[in-house]
Structures are given as structure tokens and as C-alpha cells.
Amino acid sequence: MLRTQQLEYTYPGNKTITFPDIQCEKGSQWLLLGQSGTGKTTLLHLLGGIRKPQKGKVYVADQELNTLSSTALDQFRGKNIGIVFQQSYFVQALTVGENLQLAQTLAGHSADSDRIKDLLSRLNIGNKIHDRTNRLSQGEQQRVAIARALVNSPGLILADEPTSALDDENCKEVIDLLETQAKEEGATLVIVTHDSRLKAFFDHKIILQ
């Protein structure tokens, strides 16, 4: 499902990071661990097609991301990759439900409100559908972000420090949700984190040096 070959990224200051090759089967769940400065977020952006590597290749669902045009890559990402960020970003002017709808239409799907309702209630925030996102608590915001990552049933879900802003209780809950929902959707899950609380939850781990 997700594969990298000799991935290398050079920052503007000429600092180069070489990433280990990764190969994740469909439906598998991975933890990418590393201290800050080890290029975790960069790697996640490379995997998600948000940033282009100077060297090496990224395959998602057997599609090499670098060969796609900018617009095609945007479409591919919208359809096949769901991303949960460390901070929850939303379109401020829209409600929770509208944010999810936007994710559907931007990916080229038609709006499916049943899917949205179903997803939100599975994440225990069904009653927040008409709320503005800035009215939600951190934990609730992270759930909406998960719902948004899942809404188009992507084959790959990437999560960048999804738990770093959460307390233990919320942390466990969010990870549980990510795990179970990814499983339910049959999606491959890759979590990038320095949060050692998560080590216990995952079998597959990659340590970045």
C-alpha cells in the first residue's frame, strides 16, 4: 500500500535527511517514532505528497506520487490519503458537518450526509455536526480531524502527532478510534510521533534516527 525507495530530503539550509525504506501492507498499522529534528513531519509530508523529495520515490497504492502533475496529485491525495495533523485546522467559517462535506467535494466526490452522520456518531461527536469547529474542545477537534481524514474512505491514513496536545485519557481514546476506524475502513494507518505513550499500542514500529 505504502512504499518508499531511498527517500532523501534536503532542507534549504543544505541539511539532508535520508529516510529508511518503508513498506506497509494494506490494512497494517505503523508507528513512526523519532525525536524532534529527525524529520518526522517532513517524512509525513513526503508520504502524503505535500512535499516533493529531491531523491527517491514514494508509492501510494502503486502510484508513484512524483510522476503526477500538481493538480492530479491534489486530486489523488484528496481521494486516497487522509491526513490528521498535529494541530487541528478547519475552515473556520464552516460547521463540523460542512467541513466534512467540503472534504468530500474537494476530493471530487459528491456530498454524502449519511456518511458524515454515520462517521461522526461512530466517533461519538454526532451531536456536534452543526457546531462551529472553534467551539469544540481539543479532543473533539481531533475527532473531527479523524472523521475528515476518513470521510473519503482513503486507502492510507497519515497522522502527525495526533495525540501530542491531548491528556492521557483523550490520547488513548483517539488512538483507539484511529485504530478501530482504520481497521473498519480497511485503511493503512501510519502515525508519526515522538509520544512514547503510543509505543504500547502498535506492533509495527520504525525508529527514525
Binding site: T41, H45, G48, I50, R51, S70, T71, D74, Q75, R77, G78, K79, I83, F85, Q87, Y89, F90, V91, Q92, A93, L94, E98, Q101, L102, A103, T105, L106, A107, G108, A111, R148
Partner: protein, 466 residues
């Protein structure tokens, strides 16, 4: 969620900013649209009322004032002229003149002017037709314009007393005898005719002769009474010297000074048959102006006629077209200044759209990056921001139209009083389509730089800087 809904919700999320920008834009557009409406309607009305009249002959004074008073019935007349002076022009066999229509002004009823004239004023000049009743024939019979009938509720058979002058202050009402009697109502012509009360010249004379007698009889010895009358005239003229001597002052004085209770007025009363004698039979009487239609507008003699009159007689001749062009070029300075002001407002509001979008983009850079992550292409973001600019422009334009048409509707009452015409706030002009084009252009240009900035959003860069 389509881009239009999204851009609308984005703007609605910042209501104060949006309101300010829209108000500014609406004000600019509204001012321009109002000027367009006002200019077009004024121009139209003035042109309609030229009605083919080539020349106006009246007493010496301001030519523009004479034109305004006798063609558009706005200003006070410049004074009176005696029929003796204009006798040659009244000759139906005059080689240059096809038609000469006399006008006698001076009285009004509820601010609607009473005009002593001939049937040709309705038939030949304005091509008016009678809606009900008939045209005036006998002394004190009047036929009223469509708007007069509407506004005063005068009906056929109604009688009314006129007031001296053109204001409705209730002080100068002539309260002699039975007053005027409505015998007919004209169809609407969309000219000044709609605002007039028409009667024959003899009726206008009769009202004033009658009054002069009544005033004279008890106060024959007291000259002050007559002075009063004259002072009334002067005050009505509202500081216009030309007007001071207007209206039969000549013969009033003559009557008074000579203690000559003339008898032919009474004769008029009694002898007024169905057909009035032609004016040419009253050489010592006055009219206010003569409206002239030429036989041949381009002949040499015709072209030199106004100058001949102005140089060789005590009369004044003025061409309505020339005077109105002069007036418009004078007013043009004012409208140009207003138009430029409106343009400046629109440009500033364009700037405010730019600033609004630009500053909102700063707050929304994460959103935009996020939308890219969710599958939006660069051009989608560009399009989205352009759409927000256009949305401002369209809403501002609509607000502007609402302001201008609403304003015009409110203004029309005042304008009708000032200009004797009806103005409509709900007429639309093709220039307003140009205005829409211009508004969209401004919205587009204002959104261009912010849109380009959105287009260039680097997702990774944006999402890793906090």
C-alpha cells in the same frame, strides 16, 4: 459544497468587514446610478418639452429665465410684452413664422400654473389630446393636464379660485366671482403639458382686471393699496428684478393712474361668445411670451431673426435649444464633479475589497493549505478568492442599485415640485449594465493579487510554520 457557497460563507463569517466594504461599494455605485438616472430623465424631459419650438419671444431679461419659465414652467417670467409690440409675429401670413403661440402666465392653483394660450399650444406643440370633456372655449373655462387632475382631484364641472404667483401660500388667492371652471381633462403626454391648467388669454386678463377693479373701487384715493399689490408681485418674484414689473403691471398702472375704469373688460364678460376674438384685436393688452415655430429653419432670414429682434426691438428672442445647451453645460460641471467623487468612492471601495481579502487571507492561510491537502488544486484556490471579490462586487452593485432607485423614488416628489415633471425611481437604464460590468471588473482586479497569493500557497511550508 460549491465554491460560491464557500466564498459566501467565508465572507459572512466576517460580517463587519463585509458590511463596511459593501456599504462603500454600494455608495459609490449608487451615486453613479443616481446620476445616470437623474441626468437621463432630466435630459429626456427637457428634450420632450422642446417640442419643436424654435424661438421664444418675451420681455428683456435673462434669456435662460425666459426659456425656463415659458417652456418648462420652472422659473418666474421675465416680464410682459404688449400685443402691439408682437403684432407682426401674430400675423398668420408672416413669411418666416409657421406658428406663433401666445402664453400668459401669472396665476396658479395649488402650485399648478394657469396658462392663458390658444388651442394650438395643445394641438400643434405638444400634440395633446382630450381625455374627457373638451378644450376651453369661454371665459374662465379651463382644461387641465393629466397630472393636475390626479393631484388636485379636480373634475369636470369643478370650480376653483386661482392664486396670484406660483406658490401656494393662500395669501394671494383671487376670490372674485365664481373663479375658473374645469371643462376638460387632457391625456397624459409626458411633457410639461401634464402639469398645466390651460385657459384662454382673455381669461387670464379678466381675472386680473377684475381684481384690479375690486381693489381700486374702495380704495380709489388710497394709492397705498395699489402699492401693496405691486409689492405682492415683487415679493413673489423672490428677488428677481426682472419679475418685479411682470404681469399686466403696465395696464394696471394705466388703469390706476388714469382712474380709468376701463369698460371693455366688462364687455368681455358679457360679450364672451363661444369664439374669442383674436389677440391682435387687443393691442393695449399684455402677454408673457410668444412661442415661435419657423417655416424654414435654415433660411438666412430665419437665422438672423433672433438677432434682429434683440437688437432692434424692446423684445427679447431666445432659442430654447441654445439656452438649454448652455444650462446643461453649466450643470455639467457639477455633475462631473459628483461623478468623479463617485468614481473615487468606487475605487476606494475596490481597495477595501482588496484589503479585506488580503487580510482575511492571512488568517486563512492554514485553511487554504488544508484545502489543498483535501484535494483542492492551486487554480481552485485562485478561483475561490476571485469569486469572493466578485461576490463583493455583485452584492455592492445590488446595494448600490437599491440605494439609487430608492433614493430616486424618494427624490421624485421633491423633483416634481422643482421641475414640474414626474421622475421615476423604478426605471432602469442600459448604463446600469455597464455599471455592473465595471463593478465586476473592480471586484476582479481587487481580488487578483490575493488570489495569486492563494494560488502560490505552499502547503508543507504553511502547515509547518506556526
Amino acid at each position: 459544497m460549491n465554491p460560491l457557497t464557500l466564498s459566501w460563507k467565508n465572507q459572512k463569517d466576517r460580517p463587519l468587514q463585509m458590511l463596511l466594504t459593501l456599504l462603500l461599494f454600494g455608495l459609490g455605485v449608487g451615486l453613479i446610478a443616481l446620476l445616470i438616472s437623474l441626468n437621463t430623465q432630466l435630459d429626456e424631459k427637457f428634450k420632450n418639452n422642446l417640442a419643436g419650438i424654435d424661438l421664444v419671444i418675451g420681455a428683456k431679461g435673462s434669456p435662460l429665465q425666459m426659456i425656463l419659465s415659458s417652456m418648462y414652467h420652472i422659473d418666474a417670467p421675465t416680464g410682459n410684452i404688449s400685443i402691439n409690440e408682437v403684432k407682426p409675429f401674430l400675423n398668420p401670413k408672416h413669411p418666416l413664422i409657421k406658428l406663433a403661440v401666445p402664453l400668459s402666465l401669472g396665476d396658479s392653483y395649488k402650485t399648478f400654473r394657469i396658462i392663458g394660450t390658444t388651442h394650438e399650444y395643445v394641438d400643434s406643440i405638444f400634440r395633446g389630446t382630450v381625455a374627457s370633456g373638451k378644450r376651453w372655449e369661454d371665459l374662465y373655462e379651463v382644461t387641465i393636464g393629466a397630472n393636475v387632475a390626479n393631484k388636485t382631484n379636480l373634475k369636470i364641472g369643478d370650480q376653483f379660485h386661482s392664486s396670484h404667483g406660483f406658490t401656494d401660500d393662500g395669501i394671494n388667492t383671487h376670490d372674485h366671482g365664481d373663479g375658473f371652471k374645469v371643462v376638460g381633462i387632457l391625456n397624459k403626454t409626458n411633457t410639461v403639458l401634464d402639469q398645466l391648467i390651460l385657459t384662454n388669454t382673455q381669461s387670464v386678463w379678466a381675472v386680473h382686471d377684475h381684481e384690479a377693479e375690486e381693489k381700486q373701487a374702495p380704495a380709489e384715493a388710497v394709492a397705498a393699496d395699489d402699492h401693496d399689490h405691486d409689492q405682492d408681485h415683487a415679493s413673489e418674484a423672490a428677488g428677481q428684478e426682472d419679475h418685479a414689473g411682470h404681469d399686466h403691471s403696465g395696464h394696471d398702472h394705466a388703469d390706476h393712474e388714469g382712474h380709468d375704469h376701463d369698460t371693455h373688460d366688462h364687455a368681455d364678460h358679457q360679450a364672451a361668445g363661444p369664439v374669442m376674438k383674436p389677440l391682435i384685436e387687443y393691442p393695449d393688452k399684455d402677454i408673457t411670451t410668444l412661442l415661435i415655430l419657423y417655416r424654414n429653419r435654415t433660411s438666412y432670414q430665419t437665422l438672423s431673426m433672433p438677432r434682429n429682434i434683440n437688437e432692434n426691438t424692446d423684445l427679447q428672442a431666445a432659442s430654447p435649444a441654445i439656452e438649454m445647451n448652455r444650462l446643461f453645460s453649466m450643470m455639467g460641471v457639477g455633475t462631473d464633479a459628483l461623478r468623479n467623487l463617485a468614481l473615487i468612492i468606487v475605487i476606494v471601495s475596490g481597495l477595501s475589497i482588496f484589503i479585506s481579502l488580503f487580510s482575511s487571507l492571512k488568517d486563512r492561510k492554514y485553511e487554504l493549505a488544508l484545502m489543498r491537502v483535501m484535494g483542492a488544486s492551486r487554480s481552485y484556490l485562485f478561483f475561490l478568492i476571485i469569486l469572493e471579490g466578485l461576490l463583493f462586487a455583485i452584492l455592492g452593485y445590488l446595494l448600490g442599485l437599491l440605494l439609487s432607485h430608492g433614493g430616486m423614488a424618494l427624490l421624485s416628489g421633491y423633483l416634481e415640485e422643482a421641475y414640474q415633471y414626474e421622475f421615476s425611481g423604478w426605471r432602469f437604464f442600459k448604463e446600469e449594465l455597464w455599471l455592473l460590468g465595471g463593478s465586476l471588473g473592480i471586484g476582479f482586479v481587487a481580488a487578483l493579487i490575493p488570489a495569486f497569493q492563494a494560488y502560490r500557497t505552499d502547503i508543507s511550508e504553511t502547515l509547518t510554520t506556526y
